[in-house]
Protein backbone atom coordinates (compact mmCIF):
# COMPACT_ATOMS: atom_id res chain seq x y z
CA UNK A 1 0.00 0.00 0.00
CA UNK A 2 2.88 2.35 0.83
CA UNK A 3 4.42 1.49 -2.52
CA UNK A 4 1.21 2.49 -4.33
CA UNK A 5 0.95 5.78 -2.37
CA UNK A 6 4.54 6.68 -3.30
CA UNK A 7 3.76 5.89 -6.90
CA UNK A 8 0.73 8.18 -6.81
CA UNK A 9 2.82 10.99 -5.31
CA UNK A 10 5.44 10.59 -8.00
CA UNK A 11 2.74 10.62 -10.65
CA UNK A 12 1.35 13.81 -9.21
CA UNK A 13 4.75 15.45 -9.48
CA UNK A 14 5.15 14.32 -13.06
CA UNK A 15 1.69 15.33 -14.24
CA UNK A 16 1.50 18.58 -12.29
CA UNK A 17 4.50 20.91 -12.56
CA UNK A 18 2.52 23.30 -10.36
CA UNK A 19 2.45 20.81 -7.49
CA UNK A 20 6.17 20.20 -7.91
CA UNK A 21 6.77 23.95 -7.64
CA UNK A 22 4.58 24.05 -4.53
CA UNK A 23 6.66 21.33 -2.93
CA UNK A 24 9.82 23.31 -3.75
CA UNK A 25 8.38 26.45 -2.15
CA UNK A 26 7.24 24.62 0.98
CA UNK A 27 10.69 23.10 1.30
CA UNK A 28 12.29 26.54 1.30
CA UNK A 29 9.69 28.21 3.50
CA UNK A 30 8.27 25.57 5.84
CA UNK A 31 6.32 28.18 7.81
CA UNK A 32 4.45 29.48 4.77
CA UNK A 33 0.86 30.29 5.70
CA UNK A 34 -1.81 27.69 5.38
CA UNK A 35 -4.08 30.11 3.57
CA UNK A 36 -2.31 31.09 0.37
CA UNK A 37 -3.51 34.28 -1.27
CA UNK A 38 -5.58 34.79 1.85
CA UNK A 39 -5.84 37.67 4.25
CA UNK A 40 -2.14 38.18 5.02
CA UNK A 41 -1.15 38.60 1.43
CA UNK A 42 -4.20 40.73 0.62
CA UNK A 43 -3.82 42.96 3.63
CA UNK A 44 -0.20 43.63 2.69
CA UNK A 45 -1.44 44.64 -0.75
CA UNK A 46 -3.88 47.10 0.76
CA UNK A 47 -1.11 48.67 2.80
CA UNK A 48 1.12 49.35 -0.18
CA UNK A 49 2.94 52.63 0.22
CA UNK A 50 2.87 52.73 4.01
CA UNK A 51 6.15 54.22 5.11
CA UNK A 52 5.57 55.19 8.71
CA UNK A 53 3.78 53.68 11.66
CA UNK A 54 3.05 56.91 13.52
CA UNK A 55 4.94 59.92 14.85
CA UNK A 56 5.07 58.46 18.37
CA UNK A 57 6.85 55.39 17.15
CA UNK A 58 9.03 57.50 14.93
CA UNK A 59 10.23 59.65 17.83
CA UNK A 60 10.72 56.64 20.13
CA UNK A 61 12.85 54.94 17.52
CA UNK A 62 14.85 58.07 16.89
CA UNK A 63 15.66 58.31 20.60
CA UNK A 64 16.52 54.63 20.83
CA UNK A 65 18.69 54.67 17.74
CA UNK A 66 20.55 57.80 18.74
CA UNK A 67 23.80 56.02 19.48
CA UNK A 68 23.32 53.02 17.24
CA UNK A 69 24.21 52.82 13.59
CA UNK A 70 21.01 52.39 11.63
CA UNK A 71 21.06 49.27 9.45
CA UNK A 72 20.44 49.97 5.79
CA UNK A 73 16.79 49.51 4.91
CA UNK A 74 16.57 46.21 3.08
CA UNK A 75 13.61 46.07 0.77
CA UNK A 76 11.98 42.76 1.55
CA UNK A 77 8.57 41.29 2.09
CA UNK A 78 8.31 42.03 5.81
CA UNK A 79 6.48 45.07 7.11
CA UNK A 80 8.55 48.07 8.13
CA UNK A 81 7.63 48.41 11.78
CA UNK A 82 9.39 47.75 15.04
CA UNK A 83 13.01 48.67 15.48
CA UNK A 84 13.65 49.95 12.05
CA UNK A 85 11.58 52.95 11.24
CA UNK A 86 12.43 54.92 8.16
CA UNK A 87 13.86 58.34 8.76
CA UNK A 88 13.95 61.09 6.19
CA UNK A 89 17.59 60.23 5.59
CA UNK A 90 16.66 56.66 4.61
CA UNK A 91 14.12 57.59 2.02
CA UNK A 92 15.33 57.73 -1.57
CA UNK A 93 15.50 61.24 -2.91
CA UNK A 94 12.67 62.09 -5.25
CA UNK A 95 13.61 63.13 -8.71
CA UNK A 96 12.24 66.63 -9.37
CA UNK A 97 9.14 66.33 -11.48
CA UNK A 98 10.04 69.23 -13.74
CA UNK A 99 12.20 66.99 -15.88
CA UNK A 100 10.33 66.24 -19.08
CA UNK A 101 9.51 62.70 -20.07
CA UNK A 102 11.98 61.10 -22.46
CA UNK A 103 9.08 60.17 -24.73
CA UNK A 104 8.38 63.84 -25.34
CA UNK A 105 11.61 63.95 -27.35
Amino acid sequence: IIYLKLFQEMEDKVTSPEKAEEAKLKARYPHLGQKPGGSDFLRKRLQKGQKYFDSGDYNMAKAKMKNKQLPAAAPDKTEVTGDHIPTPQDLPQRKPSLVASKLAG
Partner: protein
Protein backbone atom coordinates in the same frame (compact mmCIF):
# COMPACT_ATOMS: atom_id res chain seq x y z
CA UNK B 1 26.51 45.56 -7.95
CA UNK B 2 25.85 47.12 -11.33
CA UNK B 3 23.77 50.26 -11.12
CA UNK B 4 20.55 50.54 -13.06
CA UNK B 5 20.77 53.37 -15.56
CA UNK B 6 17.05 53.38 -16.21
CA UNK B 7 15.27 56.29 -14.59
CA UNK B 8 12.37 54.94 -12.56
CA UNK B 9 10.22 57.92 -13.42
CA UNK B 10 10.33 57.09 -17.11
CA UNK B 11 8.66 53.72 -16.73
CA UNK B 12 5.45 53.80 -18.75
CA UNK B 13 2.51 52.80 -16.59
CA UNK B 14 -0.43 53.11 -18.99
CA UNK B 15 -1.18 53.45 -22.72
CA UNK B 16 -4.51 54.43 -24.29
CA UNK B 17 -5.76 55.38 -27.76
CA UNK B 18 -8.60 57.86 -28.00
CA UNK B 19 -11.88 56.88 -29.69
CA UNK B 20 -10.75 57.70 -33.22
CA UNK B 21 -7.18 56.47 -32.78
CA UNK B 22 -5.86 59.85 -33.79
CA UNK B 23 -4.36 60.41 -30.35
CA UNK B 24 -2.38 58.07 -28.13
CA UNK B 25 -1.76 58.93 -24.48
CA UNK B 26 0.88 57.42 -22.22
CA UNK B 27 1.28 57.89 -18.48
CA UNK B 28 4.43 57.17 -16.53
CA UNK B 29 5.70 56.49 -13.05
CA UNK B 30 6.80 60.13 -12.70
CA UNK B 31 3.22 61.37 -13.02
CA UNK B 32 3.65 62.71 -16.54
CA UNK B 33 1.38 62.28 -19.54
CA UNK B 34 2.67 62.32 -23.11
CA UNK B 35 0.16 62.51 -25.95
CA UNK B 36 1.05 61.46 -29.48
CA UNK B 37 -0.88 62.46 -32.58
CA UNK B 38 -1.07 60.56 -35.81
CA UNK B 39 0.17 62.58 -38.72
CA UNK B 40 -2.26 62.63 -41.64
CA UNK B 41 -0.91 60.65 -44.56
CA UNK B 42 0.36 63.08 -47.14
CA UNK B 43 1.17 62.56 -50.80
CA UNK B 44 4.43 64.44 -50.40
CA UNK B 45 5.79 62.01 -47.84
CA UNK B 46 4.30 58.61 -48.65
CA UNK B 47 6.74 56.90 -46.30
CA UNK B 48 5.39 58.66 -43.23
CA UNK B 49 2.25 56.53 -43.49
CA UNK B 50 0.49 58.24 -40.65
CA UNK B 51 3.15 58.00 -37.95
CA UNK B 52 2.68 59.21 -34.41
CA UNK B 53 4.52 62.30 -33.22
CA UNK B 54 4.56 64.02 -29.86
CA UNK B 55 1.56 66.33 -29.58
CA UNK B 56 1.67 67.45 -25.97
CA UNK B 57 3.20 66.58 -22.63
CA UNK B 58 2.29 67.68 -19.12
CA UNK B 59 2.73 66.87 -15.46
CA UNK B 60 -0.53 65.28 -14.37
CA UNK B 61 0.14 64.21 -10.79
CA UNK B 62 2.73 65.07 -8.17
CA UNK B 63 3.87 62.94 -5.24
CA UNK B 64 1.86 63.66 -2.11
CA UNK B 65 1.96 62.79 1.56
CA UNK B 66 -1.12 61.92 3.57
CA UNK B 67 -0.25 63.22 7.02
CA UNK B 68 -3.25 61.66 8.70
CA UNK B 69 -2.30 58.13 7.66
CA UNK B 70 1.44 58.64 7.35
CA UNK B 71 1.14 57.39 3.84
CA UNK B 72 3.13 58.34 0.80
CA UNK B 73 1.02 58.73 -2.33
CA UNK B 74 2.78 57.86 -5.56
CA UNK B 75 2.42 60.13 -8.55
CA UNK B 76 2.44 57.17 -10.91
CA UNK B 77 -0.37 57.34 -13.46
CA UNK B 78 -2.34 54.11 -13.11
CA UNK B 79 -4.87 54.70 -15.87
CA UNK B 80 -5.82 57.18 -18.56
CA UNK B 81 -9.23 57.16 -20.21
CA UNK B 82 -10.30 59.47 -23.02
CA UNK B 83 -13.69 61.13 -23.01
CA UNK B 84 -15.61 60.95 -26.29
CA UNK B 85 -14.89 64.14 -28.19
CA UNK B 86 -17.79 66.57 -28.05
CA UNK B 87 -16.21 69.73 -29.48
CA UNK B 88 -12.87 70.93 -30.82
CA UNK B 89 -11.15 70.15 -27.52
CA UNK B 90 -10.00 66.73 -26.35
CA UNK B 91 -10.50 65.60 -22.77
CA UNK B 92 -9.06 62.79 -20.75
CA UNK B 93 -9.17 61.43 -17.24
CA UNK B 94 -5.90 60.46 -15.58
CA UNK B 95 -5.57 58.86 -12.18
CA UNK B 96 -2.94 57.89 -9.66
CA UNK B 97 -3.65 55.83 -6.52
CA UNK B 98 -5.90 58.43 -4.93
CA UNK B 99 -6.93 61.31 -7.20
CA UNK B 100 -8.58 61.46 -10.61
CA UNK B 101 -8.13 64.53 -12.79
CA UNK B 102 -9.99 65.73 -15.88
CA UNK B 103 -7.69 67.43 -18.39
CA UNK B 104 -8.78 69.52 -21.32
CA UNK B 105 -6.50 69.74 -24.34
CA UNK B 106 -7.07 72.61 -26.73
CA UNK B 107 -5.33 73.90 -29.80
CA UNK B 108 -4.57 77.45 -30.60
CA UNK B 109 -3.47 78.21 -34.16
CA UNK B 110 -4.68 81.77 -34.59
CA UNK B 111 -4.14 84.94 -32.66
CA UNK B 112 -5.71 88.34 -32.93
CA UNK B 113 -3.59 91.16 -34.30
CA UNK B 114 -4.24 94.84 -34.80
CA UNK B 115 -5.63 96.04 -31.48
CA UNK B 116 -6.48 99.68 -31.17
CA UNK B 117 -5.32 100.29 -27.63
CA UNK B 118 -2.36 97.90 -27.38
CA UNK B 119 0.68 97.50 -29.58
CA UNK B 120 2.18 94.20 -30.74
CA UNK B 121 3.92 93.57 -27.43
CA UNK B 122 0.77 94.30 -25.46
CA UNK B 123 1.87 97.70 -24.17
CA UNK B 124 -0.70 100.40 -24.03
CA UNK B 125 -0.46 102.81 -26.95
CA UNK B 126 -0.12 106.51 -26.57
CA UNK B 127 -3.69 107.50 -27.37
CA UNK B 128 -2.65 110.69 -29.10
CA UNK B 129 -1.04 108.58 -31.84
CA UNK B 130 -4.26 106.74 -32.58
CA UNK B 131 -5.98 108.49 -35.45
CA UNK B 132 -8.24 105.79 -36.85
CA UNK B 133 -10.00 102.66 -35.70
CA UNK B 134 -9.12 99.23 -37.00
CA UNK B 135 -10.80 95.91 -36.55
CA UNK B 136 -8.44 93.29 -35.11
CA UNK B 137 -8.02 90.29 -37.38
CA UNK B 138 -7.16 86.68 -36.60
CA UNK B 139 -3.83 85.74 -38.08
CA UNK B 140 -2.44 82.22 -38.22
CA UNK B 141 0.29 81.29 -35.76
CA UNK B 142 2.33 78.20 -34.96
CA UNK B 143 0.18 75.54 -33.39
CA UNK B 144 0.12 75.71 -29.63
CA UNK B 145 -1.38 72.89 -27.62
CA UNK B 146 -2.66 73.95 -24.24
CA UNK B 147 -3.56 71.58 -21.43
CA UNK B 148 -5.46 72.58 -18.33
CA UNK B 149 -6.89 70.65 -15.39
CA UNK B 150 -10.64 71.18 -15.40
CA UNK B 151 -11.72 68.95 -12.54
CA UNK B 152 -9.98 67.29 -9.66
CA UNK B 153 -11.84 64.37 -8.11
CA UNK B 154 -10.10 63.88 -4.77
CA UNK B 155 -10.72 62.14 -1.48
CA UNK B 156 -13.00 59.52 -2.95
CA UNK B 157 -10.87 56.49 -2.18
CA UNK B 158 -9.39 54.99 0.95
CA UNK B 159 -7.60 52.25 -0.98
CA UNK B 160 -5.61 52.34 -4.20
CA UNK B 161 -7.40 53.13 -7.43
CA UNK B 162 -6.82 50.44 -10.05
CA UNK B 163 -9.35 51.37 -12.75
CA UNK B 164 -11.41 54.17 -14.18
CA UNK B 165 -14.05 53.80 -16.88
CA UNK B 166 -16.14 56.41 -18.68
CA UNK B 167 -19.80 55.53 -19.07
CA UNK B 168 -21.44 55.42 -22.50
CA UNK B 169 -23.78 58.16 -21.25
CA UNK B 170 -20.76 60.50 -21.44
CA UNK B 171 -21.87 62.10 -18.18
CA UNK B 172 -20.62 59.73 -15.53
CA UNK B 173 -17.61 57.59 -14.89
CA UNK B 174 -16.53 55.09 -12.28
CA UNK B 175 -13.35 54.62 -10.28
CA UNK B 176 -12.48 51.37 -8.56
CA UNK B 177 -10.04 50.68 -5.74
CA UNK B 178 -9.22 47.40 -3.99
CA UNK B 179 -12.49 47.28 -2.08
CA UNK B 180 -14.87 49.89 -3.44
CA UNK B 181 -16.22 51.33 -6.66
CA UNK B 182 -17.48 54.92 -6.91
CA UNK B 183 -19.66 56.58 -9.51
CA UNK B 184 -18.90 60.21 -10.35
CA UNK B 185 -20.51 62.83 -12.50
CA UNK B 186 -17.92 64.44 -14.76
CA UNK B 187 -19.01 67.93 -13.73
CA UNK B 188 -19.25 67.34 -9.97
CA UNK B 189 -16.14 66.94 -7.87
CA UNK B 190 -17.40 67.28 -4.32
CA UNK B 191 -19.35 64.05 -4.15
CA UNK B 192 -19.50 60.58 -5.59
CA UNK B 193 -21.78 57.61 -5.11
CA UNK B 194 -20.45 54.34 -3.79
CA UNK B 195 -21.85 51.55 -5.94
CA UNK B 196 -19.83 48.55 -4.80
CA UNK B 197 -18.38 47.91 -1.35
CA UNK B 198 -16.79 44.55 -0.61
CA UNK B 199 -15.00 45.59 2.55
CA UNK B 200 -15.80 43.01 5.23
CA UNK B 201 -16.88 44.21 8.68
CA UNK B 202 -13.82 42.49 10.09
CA UNK B 203 -10.69 42.87 7.98
CA UNK B 204 -9.53 39.48 9.24
CA UNK B 205 -12.27 38.04 7.02
CA UNK B 206 -10.87 39.64 3.88
CA UNK B 207 -10.55 37.02 1.14
CA UNK B 208 -10.67 38.90 -2.12
CA UNK B 209 -10.13 42.34 -3.61
CA UNK B 210 -11.33 44.15 -6.72
CA UNK B 211 -8.67 44.04 -9.43
CA UNK B 212 -10.26 45.79 -12.44
CA UNK B 213 -13.55 47.33 -13.50
CA UNK B 214 -15.20 48.59 -16.68
CA UNK B 215 -18.50 49.98 -17.93
CA UNK B 216 -20.33 48.19 -20.72
CA UNK B 217 -19.63 49.98 -24.03
CA UNK B 218 -23.32 50.41 -24.90
CA UNK B 219 -25.51 49.74 -21.85
CA UNK B 220 -24.96 52.61 -19.45
CA UNK B 221 -26.43 50.66 -16.54
CA UNK B 222 -24.06 47.68 -16.74
CA UNK B 223 -20.53 47.30 -15.51
CA UNK B 224 -18.20 44.44 -14.66
CA UNK B 225 -15.56 44.06 -11.98
CA UNK B 226 -12.99 41.32 -11.56
CA UNK B 227 -11.52 39.87 -8.39
CA UNK B 228 -8.28 38.44 -7.09
CA UNK B 229 -10.02 35.06 -6.90
CA UNK B 230 -10.58 34.99 -10.65
CA UNK B 231 -14.28 35.78 -10.77
CA UNK B 232 -16.16 38.43 -12.72
CA UNK B 233 -19.28 40.16 -11.49
CA UNK B 234 -21.65 41.90 -13.86
CA UNK B 235 -23.73 44.53 -12.07
CA UNK B 236 -26.83 46.44 -13.07
CA UNK B 237 -27.15 49.93 -11.61
CA UNK B 238 -30.87 49.92 -12.28
CA UNK B 239 -31.38 46.99 -9.94
CA UNK B 240 -30.20 48.76 -6.80
CA UNK B 241 -28.30 51.81 -5.62
CA UNK B 242 -25.62 49.66 -4.04
CA UNK B 243 -24.55 46.94 -6.43
CA UNK B 244 -23.02 44.58 -3.89
CA UNK B 245 -25.30 41.89 -5.20
CA UNK B 246 -24.22 40.98 -8.69
CA UNK B 247 -26.57 40.33 -11.57
CA UNK B 248 -24.27 37.70 -12.99
CA UNK B 249 -21.26 35.89 -11.59
CA UNK B 250 -18.75 34.50 -14.07
CA UNK B 251 -16.50 31.89 -12.58
CA UNK B 252 -14.69 28.91 -14.01
CA UNK B 253 -15.07 25.84 -11.82
CA UNK B 254 -11.75 24.72 -10.40
CA UNK B 255 -10.50 21.17 -10.50
CA UNK B 256 -9.88 20.44 -6.80
CA UNK B 257 -7.28 17.80 -7.59
CA UNK B 258 -5.18 20.40 -9.40
CA UNK B 259 -5.28 22.91 -6.60
CA UNK B 260 -1.92 24.14 -5.31
CA UNK B 261 -0.56 26.99 -3.24
CA UNK B 262 -0.34 29.04 -6.41
CA UNK B 263 -3.82 28.35 -7.77
CA UNK B 264 -5.54 31.36 -6.34
CA UNK B 265 -2.68 33.75 -7.04
CA UNK B 266 -2.42 32.80 -10.71
CA UNK B 267 -6.19 32.91 -11.13
CA UNK B 268 -6.33 36.56 -10.04
CA UNK B 269 -7.69 38.60 -12.96
CA UNK B 270 -5.35 41.48 -13.72
CA UNK B 271 -7.44 43.07 -16.47
CA UNK B 272 -10.97 42.87 -17.88
CA UNK B 273 -12.12 44.43 -21.16
CA UNK B 274 -15.49 44.34 -22.89
CA UNK B 275 -15.38 43.57 -26.59
CA UNK B 276 -16.31 46.43 -28.91
CA UNK B 277 -19.53 44.57 -29.67
CA UNK B 278 -20.40 44.44 -25.99
CA UNK B 279 -21.18 40.75 -26.29
CA UNK B 280 -17.96 39.38 -24.79
CA UNK B 281 -15.44 40.07 -22.04
CA UNK B 282 -11.72 39.44 -22.16
CA UNK B 283 -9.82 38.64 -18.97
CA UNK B 284 -6.12 38.19 -18.24
CA UNK B 285 -4.82 36.11 -15.40
CA UNK B 286 -1.21 35.16 -14.84
CA UNK B 287 -0.94 32.40 -17.43
CA UNK B 288 -3.93 32.78 -19.74
CA UNK B 289 -6.33 35.12 -21.51
CA UNK B 290 -9.98 34.08 -21.55
CA UNK B 291 -12.97 35.16 -23.58
CA UNK B 292 -16.31 35.11 -21.77
CA UNK B 293 -19.76 35.30 -23.32
CA UNK B 294 -22.06 37.57 -21.31
CA UNK B 295 -24.74 34.95 -21.75
CA UNK B 296 -22.73 32.18 -20.16
CA UNK B 297 -21.60 32.43 -16.57
CA UNK B 298 -20.42 28.87 -16.08
CA UNK B 299 -17.09 29.08 -17.91
CA UNK B 300 -15.18 31.08 -20.52
CA UNK B 301 -15.90 30.21 -24.14
CA UNK B 302 -12.25 30.44 -25.11
CA UNK B 303 -8.99 30.08 -23.20
CA UNK B 304 -5.59 30.90 -24.66
CA UNK B 305 -2.27 29.97 -23.07
CA UNK B 306 0.03 32.95 -22.91
CA UNK B 307 3.09 31.27 -21.40
CA UNK B 308 2.13 27.94 -19.89
CA UNK B 309 5.82 26.98 -19.67
CA UNK B 310 5.99 29.25 -16.60
CA UNK B 311 3.98 26.72 -14.64
CA UNK B 312 7.19 24.90 -13.80
CA UNK B 313 8.80 28.16 -12.67
CA UNK B 314 6.13 29.33 -10.23
CA UNK B 315 8.31 28.89 -7.17
CA UNK B 316 10.99 31.33 -8.33
CA UNK B 317 8.37 33.65 -9.85
CA UNK B 318 6.71 33.80 -6.43
CA UNK B 319 10.01 34.58 -4.75
CA UNK B 320 10.79 37.36 -7.20
CA UNK B 321 7.24 38.73 -6.93
CA UNK B 322 6.82 38.33 -10.68
CA UNK B 323 3.79 36.14 -10.01
CA UNK B 324 2.01 39.33 -8.93
CA UNK B 325 2.71 41.17 -12.20
CA UNK B 326 -0.45 42.70 -13.64
CA UNK B 327 -0.65 42.21 -17.38
CA UNK B 328 -3.28 43.96 -19.48
CA UNK B 329 -5.14 42.62 -22.50
CA UNK B 330 -6.68 44.18 -25.59
CA UNK B 331 -9.14 43.50 -28.40
CA UNK B 332 -8.60 44.60 -31.97
CA UNK B 333 -11.26 46.76 -33.58
CA UNK B 334 -13.29 43.87 -34.98
CA UNK B 335 -12.95 41.69 -31.84
CA UNK B 336 -11.32 38.97 -33.92
CA UNK B 337 -7.82 39.18 -32.47
CA UNK B 338 -6.72 39.56 -28.85
CA UNK B 339 -3.37 40.69 -27.57
CA UNK B 340 -1.48 40.62 -24.31
CA UNK B 341 2.06 41.14 -23.07
CA UNK B 342 4.51 38.69 -21.52
CA UNK B 343 8.16 38.58 -20.39
CA UNK B 344 11.38 39.14 -22.30
CA UNK B 345 9.63 42.01 -24.11
CA UNK B 346 7.44 39.45 -25.84
CA UNK B 347 3.81 40.02 -26.58
CA UNK B 348 1.26 37.55 -27.86
CA UNK B 349 -1.63 37.76 -30.31
CA UNK B 350 -4.39 35.22 -30.71
CA UNK B 351 -6.68 35.06 -33.73
CA UNK B 352 -10.05 33.88 -32.47
CA UNK B 353 -11.21 32.73 -35.89
CA UNK B 354 -8.20 30.84 -37.21
CA UNK B 355 -7.08 29.81 -33.70
CA UNK B 356 -3.54 30.70 -34.67
CA UNK B 357 -1.26 32.63 -32.36
CA UNK B 358 2.01 34.47 -32.64
CA UNK B 359 4.73 35.68 -30.29
CA UNK B 360 6.44 38.94 -31.20
CA UNK B 361 9.18 40.94 -29.57
CA UNK B 362 9.34 44.65 -28.85
CA UNK B 363 12.96 45.65 -28.69
CA UNK B 364 15.34 47.90 -30.55
CA UNK B 365 17.54 44.99 -31.56
CA UNK B 366 14.83 42.99 -33.25
CA UNK B 367 12.87 45.72 -34.96
CA UNK B 368 14.11 48.38 -37.29
CA UNK B 369 11.71 50.95 -38.69
CA UNK B 370 9.54 49.53 -41.47
CA UNK B 371 10.92 46.01 -41.02
CA UNK B 372 8.55 43.11 -40.60
CA UNK B 373 8.40 41.71 -37.06
CA UNK B 374 9.75 38.22 -36.86
CA UNK B 375 7.73 35.68 -34.87
CA UNK B 376 9.54 34.40 -31.80
CA UNK B 377 9.34 31.04 -30.11
CA UNK B 378 10.06 29.85 -26.60
CA UNK B 379 11.27 26.30 -26.40
CA UNK B 380 10.76 24.13 -23.37
CA UNK B 381 13.26 21.43 -24.05
CA UNK B 382 12.98 18.90 -26.80
CA UNK B 383 13.61 20.04 -30.35
CA UNK B 384 15.08 23.50 -30.45
CA UNK B 385 15.13 25.68 -33.54
CA UNK B 386 17.88 28.15 -34.27
CA UNK B 387 16.27 31.38 -33.02
CA UNK B 388 14.32 29.86 -30.16
CA UNK B 389 14.69 31.27 -26.67
CA UNK B 390 14.86 28.80 -23.84
CA UNK B 391 12.64 29.34 -20.83
CA UNK B 392 15.65 29.71 -18.58
CA UNK B 393 17.07 32.60 -20.56
CA UNK B 394 13.89 34.70 -20.48
CA UNK B 395 14.44 38.12 -18.96
CA UNK B 396 11.72 38.58 -16.33
CA UNK B 397 12.63 42.21 -15.76
CA UNK B 398 11.51 42.99 -19.31
CA UNK B 399 7.76 42.80 -18.90
CA UNK B 400 5.17 44.12 -21.28
CA UNK B 401 2.32 44.96 -18.95
CA UNK B 402 0.60 47.70 -20.98
CA UNK B 403 -0.59 47.36 -24.56
CA UNK B 404 -3.24 49.13 -26.60
CA UNK B 405 -4.90 48.50 -29.96
CA UNK B 406 -6.11 51.24 -32.30
CA UNK B 407 -9.95 51.23 -32.27
CA UNK B 408 -10.23 50.57 -36.00
CA UNK B 409 -6.90 49.83 -37.66
CA UNK B 410 -4.12 47.33 -37.15
CA UNK B 411 -1.94 49.68 -35.16
CA UNK B 412 -0.74 48.65 -31.72
CA UNK B 413 1.11 50.50 -28.99
CA UNK B 414 3.40 48.45 -26.75
CA UNK B 415 5.01 49.80 -23.59
CA UNK B 416 8.26 48.00 -22.86
CA UNK B 417 9.41 49.42 -19.52
CA UNK B 418 10.44 52.93 -20.51
CA UNK B 419 10.12 52.57 -24.26
CA UNK B 420 7.03 52.93 -26.40
CA UNK B 421 6.72 50.92 -29.60
CA UNK B 422 4.07 51.59 -32.19
CA UNK B 423 3.62 48.84 -34.74
CA UNK B 424 1.50 49.14 -37.85
CA UNK B 425 0.54 45.92 -39.50
CA UNK B 426 -1.00 45.61 -42.93
CA UNK B 427 -2.12 41.98 -42.91
CA UNK B 428 -1.93 39.32 -40.21
CA UNK B 429 0.36 37.35 -42.43
CA UNK B 430 2.75 36.37 -39.71
CA UNK B 431 0.38 34.21 -37.71
CA UNK B 432 1.55 30.61 -37.48
Amino acid sequence: MPSVLLSQADIISTVEFNHTGELLATGDKGGRVVIFQREPESKNAPHSQGEYDVYSTFQSHEPEFDYLKSLEIEEKINKIKWLPQQNAAHSLLSTNDKTIKLWKITERDKRPEGYNLKDEEGKLKDLSTVTSLQVPVLKPMDLMVEVSPRRIFANGHTYHINSISVNSDCETYMSADDLRINLWHLAITDRSFNIVDIKPANMEDLTEVITASEFHPHHCNLFVYSSSKGSLRLCDMRAAALCDKHSKLFEEPEDPSNRSFFSEIISSVSDVKFSHSGRYMLTRDYLTVKVWDLNMEARPIETYQVHDYLRSKLCSLYESDCIFDKFECAWNGSDSVIMTGAYNNFFRMFDRNTKRDVTLEASRESSKPRAVLKPRRVCVGGKRRRDDISVDSLDFTKKILHTAWHPAENIIAIAATNNLYIFQDKVNSDMH
